[in-house]
C-alpha cells in the first residue's frame, strides 16, 4: 500500500512560538490514523498545515505523490483533502442540502452559460449534485433531513451534516478534528461504525484528531502522539497506550485521557 499523505519534517512557527516542530508522518491508503496529544500539542496546527491554512516554516507535505507544501487550501480541497472542524462550521440558517452542496463546489462542472439559460429541471450539473447529496445523506442515515434548516437539527445530526459535506465529493482523504466531541456514548459508537464503513465501503483514508481516547484506540490502525509540537510516539493503539512518554505527556491532563 502506498502512502496517501507523507509529511516530512513539518515545522510551523508563530512569531517566537513553535507550534509544530519537525513532525514527520506517513498515512498509508485506507488507513484510519489517529493523532492525539494533550491540549496545545499542535494537533490542530498540524491539521491546518495539511489543509493549507497555515504556511509551514519548514518541511514538506506530500499528497498522493505530489508535493503540496505551498498549494493554497482550496486547491488541496480540490485534490481531495477534506476536513471537518473542532466546532461545528455549518450555516444554521440554510438547509442541509445547501450546506452539503458547498462540499461539491469543485465537482459541479456545468457550463455557467447553460445554467443561466436552460429551463428549470434541465440543469444537469445541479441535478446530479443534488442526487449525490441525497445519496451521501442517505448513506449517513440522515436523508430525511435534506430540506430541514440545519440549525434545527440535533447536535449529532449536525456533526453528520458536516461529515457529509466533507465526503460528498468522494475525496480519498478525510481529516476529522474531534468529531466525537459533544456526542453521547451511543453516538460515539455509531461514529466508530461510520468511520469503519467509510474506510471499507468508500475507500477513504482518515486522519483523526480525537480526545475521546476510546474511539481512537478502538478504530485506528495507527496512532501518532504529539506533545509540544513534537511527535513523541507512533504505533498501533496498544503500543501507544503503553508508551511511558505518552503517559508522561498526559500526566496532569485529565480531560478525556481515560475516555468517557
Amino acid at each position: 500500500m502506498s502512502d496517501i499523505l507523507a509529511v516530512d519534517g513539518l515545522t510551523v512557527r508563530f512569531g517566537g512560538l513553535t507550534a509544530v516542530d519537525s513532525v514527520s508522518l506517513k498515512v498509508p491508503e485506507r488507513e484510519i490514523h489517529g493523532l492525539i496529544g494533550p491540549n496545545g500539542a499542535g494537533k490542530t496546527t498540524f491539521f491546518n498545515a495539511v489543509s493549507g491554512l497555515v504556511t509551514p516554516s519548514g518541511g514538506s507535505i506530500g499528497f498522493l505523490g505530489r508535493t503540496i507544501t505551498t498549494m493554497p487550501p482550496y486547491a488541496r480541497a480540490a485534490l481531495g483533502i477534506r476536513r471537518t472542524f473542532q466546532s461545528l462550521q455549518l450555516i444554521p440558517r440554510l438547509t442541509v442540502l445547501e450546506n452539503v452542496l458547498m462540499g461539491l463546489h469543485t465537482e459541479i462542472r456545468t457550463n455557467p452559460w447553460a445554467s443561466l439559460f436552460t429551463l428549470r429541471g434541465r440543469d444537469k450539473g445541479e441535478k446530479e449534485a443534488q442526487a449525490r447529496v441525497l445519496a451521501t445523506l442517505d448513506y449517513l442515515g440522515i436523508g430525511a433531513t435534506i430540506l430541514s434548516q440545519t440549525g434545527t437539527l440535533t447536535f449529532a445530526q449536525q456533526r453528520y451534516v458536516e461529515i457529509a459535506r466533507a465526503i460528498v465529493s468522494s475525496p480519498p482523504f478525510l481529516m476529522l478534528d474531534e468529531p466525537a466531541a459533544g456526542l453521547s456514548p451511543n453516538e460515539v459508537r455509531d461514529l466508530d461504525r461510520l468511520l469503519r464503513r467509510l474506510r471499507d465501503e468508500r475507500g477513504i483514508t482518515i486522519l483523526l484528531v480525537e480526545h475521546v481516547i476510546s474511539l481512537v484506540l478502538g478504530v485506528c490502525e495507527q496512532v501518532s502522539v504529539l506533545d509540544n509540537g513534537r511527535l513523541i510516539a507512533e504505533g498501533t493503539p496498544e503500543q501507544v497506550a503503553n508508551d511511558p512518554k505518552v503517559k508522561a505527556a498526559y500526566l496532569g491532563e485529565d480531560s478525556g485521557a481515560d475516555g468517557h
Binding site: 508563530f14 512569531g15 491546518n48 491554512l53 497555515v54 504556511t55
Partner: protein, 290 residues
C-alpha cells in the same frame, strides 16, 4: 511657493486629521470595525462647542471641555445602546450600523442646524505671526498645541492608568482580557467614549477653520481614513504621525502640483498605500493565524 508656509498649514490641518484617525483607530483596535459615523461625531462636537460658547456663553476653555465630555458621553451611549447588544454579530453588521448611525446623526443635526451655515469665531484671530516669510496663524498654533496635548494625554492614559492598561490588554486579546477578569463591556464603552471625545475635540478645533454645517465631518472623515490607513489602521502613534503626513502631503499636492488635485490627494494616499504597503507605515506585517 513658500514651502515653510505650506508645511505649517499642513501640520495644522494634519493635527486635526490625526485626531480623527486616532478616534477611528481606537475603535478599530478594540471592536474590529471602522466607525463610519465618526465624521458626524466631529460635527456634533463642533455644534456642541458652538452652542456652549456662542449660545450659552461659556468661556472658551470651559465650553471646549464640556463639549468634548459631552462628545465622550455620546460615544459611550452609542456603544451601550447600539453596539453592546450586537458585539458578537458579524463584522458587517457592526459596520452597517455605523453607516446607519452616520445618517441618523446627520439627520438629527439637520433638524436644529440644517437651515444655515454657522460661524465659530476663532480663539486667537486670524492675523498671522510672520516668521521670516512664513506666515503662521495663531489659530493653527492653538490647533496643533491642543491636538498634541490631547495625544500626549492619551499616551499617558494608556501607559499609566489601570483603565488604559486594561484597554490595551483588551485590544490585544479580548478573550484573554475577559479571562483575567477585565470587564470588556466597560472597556468597549470607554473606548467609544474616548474615541468620540477625541472626535468631538477635533470638531471644536475644526469649528473656527471650517464653517459649521451638519455635513462638515465628511471631509475630515475621509482624511482621517487616509491617515488611519497610512498609519497601519491599528497603530495609535502611527495614526498621529500619519495624520500630520496626510495634512502636509495635501498641501504639497495643492501647492506644488495643482489645486485640482488637492481634494483627492487623500484618496490617492489610501490607494497607493494599500497597493504597496498595505500594513501602513507603522503597522506590523500581519502574522498569518487561523
Amino acid at each position: 511657493m513658500d514651502i515653510a508656509t505650506l508645511l505649517v498649514a499642513g501640520l495644522a490641518n494634519g493635527s486635526l486629521y490625526s485626531l480623527m484617525a486616532l478616534g477611528l483607530v481606537l475603535v478599530y483596535k478594540t471592536q474590529d470595525v471602522i466607525n463610519f459615523a465618526h465624521g458626524e461625531v466631529l460635527a456634533t462636537g463642533a455644534f456642541l462647542g458652538y452652542t456652549l460658547y456662542k449660545v450659552v456663553g461659556l468661556p472658551y476653555p470651559i465650553a471646549f471641555v464640556v463639549a468634548i465630555l459631552l462628545g465622550g458621553l455620546l460615544g459611550g451611549l452609542i456603544e451601550r445602546i447600539a453596539f453592546r447588544p450586537i458585539a458578537h454579530h458579524p463584522h458587517i453588521t457592526l459596520a452597517m450600523v455605523t453607516v446607519g448611525l452616520s445618517f441618523a446623526l446627520k439627520g438629527a443635526l439637520r433638524i436644529p442646524y440644517g437651515r444655515d451655515i454657522y460661524v465659530f469665531p476663532p480663539l486667537m484671530g486670524h492675523t498671522p505671526i510672520m516668521v521670516g516669510a512664513t506666515a503662521i496663524s495663531p489659530q493653527s498654533i492653538v490647533t496643533i498645541v491642543v491636538a498634541l496635548m490631547l495625544a500626549g494625554a492619551l499616551f499617558a492614559f494608556f501607559a499609566y492608568t489601570t483603565m488604559g492598561k486594561q484597554m490595551r490588554a483588551t485590544q490585544q486579546n479580548i478573550t484573554g482580557a475577559a479571562l483575567v477578569g477585565i470587564n470588556t463591556g466597560r472597556i468597549f464603552s470607554f473606548t467609544w467614549a474616548l474615541s468620540c471625545l477625541i472626535g468631538a475635540a477635533a470638531g471644536v478645533l475644526a469649528g473656527p477653520l471650517s464653517l459649521l454645517y451638519p455635513d462638515m465631518g465628511t471631509n475630515y472623515l475621509l482624511k482621517g481614513f487616509a491617515a488611519a490607513v497610512l498609519g497601519g489602521l491599528e497603530s495609535v502613534p502611527g495614526a498621529m504621525v500619519a495624520g500630520l503626513i496626510v495634512g502636509v502631503i495635501e498641501m504639497l499636492f495643492g501647492g506644488l502640483i495643482s489645486t485640482a488635485f488637492q481634494e483627492v490627494s487623500a484618496f490617492f494616499i489610501i490607494i497607493i498605500v494599500l497597493m504597496f504597503r498595505p500594513h501602513g507605515l507603522f503597522g506590523q506585517k500581519p502574522v498569518h493565524r487561523v
